[in-house]
């Protein structure tokens, strides 16, 4: 078993008067693709935001590469090698696609300074990025924005990718495109923690799965286990994969 790159220990998160996470324990192994499933309001997005330091774990520990990052600032966490694709994609609408990518490429001061080989690889994953390179990102469709959000997160090598519901609101063709891109990404040994509600999307990518409910992890194991066990799906997610195929 691979050693955990990320480990959450008893993480509680409060947002104002609301107690959202109630002691989350989660491990994400190096090179693994882990999917965090759960109904709306289960605490999945809060978990990602807490890892990123956008909300504070109190109490609780977030170990990343052996360092507790629970009290570190968001920029410092990002600089330690975590990339984040938020649910709203976080696209800078008034900037062009090129400028969005340049902002994400911390080591490049100019567009020419971005790693050309990596950029070509990204263009291969998402040809729309090349096509609309000079266009304002605000004009892109929802699917194109999602591609840009993921492309931006991988413009430079990162140790861990946090992705929040990338399939949300996307057309089936774009979802297939996204799945293919994530499969390509998996081949590069990138560690991914992906939040998803679309089980059909999640099962095609995940090595591991954790299911959340009411701010807690209520199940964790391999994706294959969950896919093969309809009873477990019904119990944890209130659905049967067979019924959705």
């Amino acid at each position: 078993m691979s050693s955990p790159l990320l480990r959450l220990e008893g993480v509680h998160t409060h947002i104002g008067a609301y107690h959202i996470l109630h002691g989350v324990d989660l491990e994400v192994g190096q090179g693994e693709f882990t999917v965090l499933l759960g109904r709306n309001g289960a605490g999945k997005t809060t978990t990602l935001r807490t890892i990123m330091g956008l909300w504070t774990a109190a109490p609780g520990r977030v170990w990343f590469g052996g360092v507790d990052i629970a009290t570190r600032s968001t920029p410092e966490i990002a600089r330690r090698g975590i990339a984040y694709v938020p649910e709203n994609m976080g696209i800078f609408s008034d900037l062009t696609v090129r400028e969005n990518m340049l902002v994400a490429a911390r080591s490049a001061r100019r567009a020419e300074g971005m790693d050309a080989t990596r950029l070509e690889w990204i263009f291969g994953l998402f040809p729309a990025i090349r096509k609309f390179w000079q266009h304002p990102a605000g004009l892109l469709s929802g699917g194109q924005k999602q591609m840009l959000a993921v492309a931006r997160a991988i413009i430079e090598p990162r140790k861990l990718l946090l992705v929040d519901e990338p399939s949300k609101g996307l057309a089936p063709a774009i979802i297939q495109n996204m799945i293919a891109a994530f499969r390509e990404l998996k081949q590069t040994d990138t560690t991914v923690l992906l939040v998803e509600q679309n089980f059909n999307f999640a099962r095609q990518l995940g090595d591991k799965v954790a299911v959340m409910d009411d701010g807690r992890i209520v199940h964790s194991g391999t994706m294959a286990e969950l896919v093969d066990d309809e009873g477990l799906q019904q119990k944890l997610l209130g659905l049967s994969l067979a019924a959705h195929q």
């Binding site: 956008l54 968001t74 600089r79 938020p86 800078f92 008034d94 900037l95 400028e99 911390r106 891109a181």
Partner: protein, 340 residues
């Protein structure tokens, strides 16, 4: 890393780029609308140049403030103190170089004015740094407290100016070579107003270049839209904000020098007086938008001059009326910034 993913058909669709050019027509439209109301073309030319000069100075002062608001949602009602500080520093520096400012030689005048501007920018920037640390930082995210404490900061600043330079109005004469007018046909155009237009355009061009061609500029534009995402990409937005605040204060100091020379006198309250115009401009332009701020400033400058000549009583509230009309048309301002 091999490209292996096919493009989904829907990924090829993109709406046509429709450039928002209507706001760019506002300034010429206002100028042309005023033309038939003037008694002569020469009057119109004189007032138009005066309005553009006033607008440019307001833009220099307001551009930093709009970015400060856009980046951190900080309402700085104390911005005016940097204007007054810049103007008073110009009084001291130019006063000390009266031999050069009194000379008819343009080069000597410039050698006096440039250090005055640089000193004003440096000191206003330094005071801005302290202002952000001491006054703004404790009240991030608390708008009511920001309004109260920054207004308090401005009052304290004004009183300190009175302690140093005295409470009375001090004349700030133009250097000799800047005085007088040029004749454009029958129209007399003051030399200093042309200089103000040139400096304003230079500041706008420099700002445009920084914001569109440099990484820092990109980060500022990105931060104005979604500061949380900029932080998630690994950048310390507060450092960026401090930089913008200092630059904005320095520009206000420069604007103060120019405003003082435009009025040819300085008073401790001059910052508070200009503050009203600045806030009208950044609201008209769209909070956080430098382009909108530029157009808003020119509109305010032109309208103030036209109404001041045609109907002085209307001039008192013409800019408020302009703001109301713009906001009825575009509630988020001329160029609304796409916020998350």
């Amino acid at each position: 890393m091999s490209p292996s993913v096919a493009t989904a058909p829907a990924a090829d669709a993109l709406p046509q780029l429709v450039a928002d050019r209507i706001p760019l027509l506002l300034v010429p439209a206002l100028a042309l609308a005023a033309l038939p109301l003037m008694s002569s073309l020469s009057t119109w030319v004189t007032l138009t140049v005066a309005g553009l000069a006033m607008g440019m100075i307001i833009f220099i002062i307001a551009s930093g403030l709009t970015l400060v608001f856009g980046l951190m949602d900080v309402l700085n009602f104390g911005h005016g103190v940097f204007i007054a500080l810049g103007a008073y520093l110009a009084v001291s520096v130019l006063g000390a170089m009266s031999g050069w400012t009194g000379s008819e030689h343009l080069a000597l005048n410039l050698l006096a004015v440039l250090p005055a501007m640089l000193v004003a920018m440096a000191v206003a920037g330094g005071v801005g740094f302290a202002f952000e640390r001491v006054i703004i930082r404790p009240v991030y995210g608390q708008h009511l407290k920001q309004i109260m404490i920054t207004m308090g900061g401005m009052i304290v600043g004004e009183e300190l100016i009175k302690v140093i330079w005295g409470p009375q109005t001090i004349p700030l004469p133009l250097p000799a070579a800047f005085r007088g007018s040029l004749l454009l046909g029958d129209a007399a155009v003051e030399k200093y107003r042309l200089i103000a237009v040139v400096i304003g355009l230079a500041v706008f061009a420099a700002m445009f270049w920084v914001l569109s061609r440099t990484k820092v500029g990109l980060l500022i534009r990105a931060g104005v839209q979604d500061r949380e995402m900029v932080e998630s990409l690994g950048y310390r937005i507060r450092k960026l904000f401090v930089g913008v605040f200092v630059a904005g204060s320095a520009l206000a100091g420069l604007g103060g020098v120019m405003w003082g020379l435009y009025q040819q006198n300085v008073t401790p309250q001059m910052g508070a007086q200009v503050n009203v115009l600045i806030f009208i401009v950044i609201i008209i332009g769209g909070l956080g938008s430098v382009g909108g701020c530029f157009i808003g400033a020119l509109l305010v400058g032109l309208l103030a001059n036209y109404t001041g000549f045609l109907a002085p009583k209307v001039a008192l509230f013409s800019n408020i009326l302009l703001m109301v009309l713009i906001l009825l048309w575009r509630p988020q301002g001329i160029f609304p910034v796409a916020k998350r």
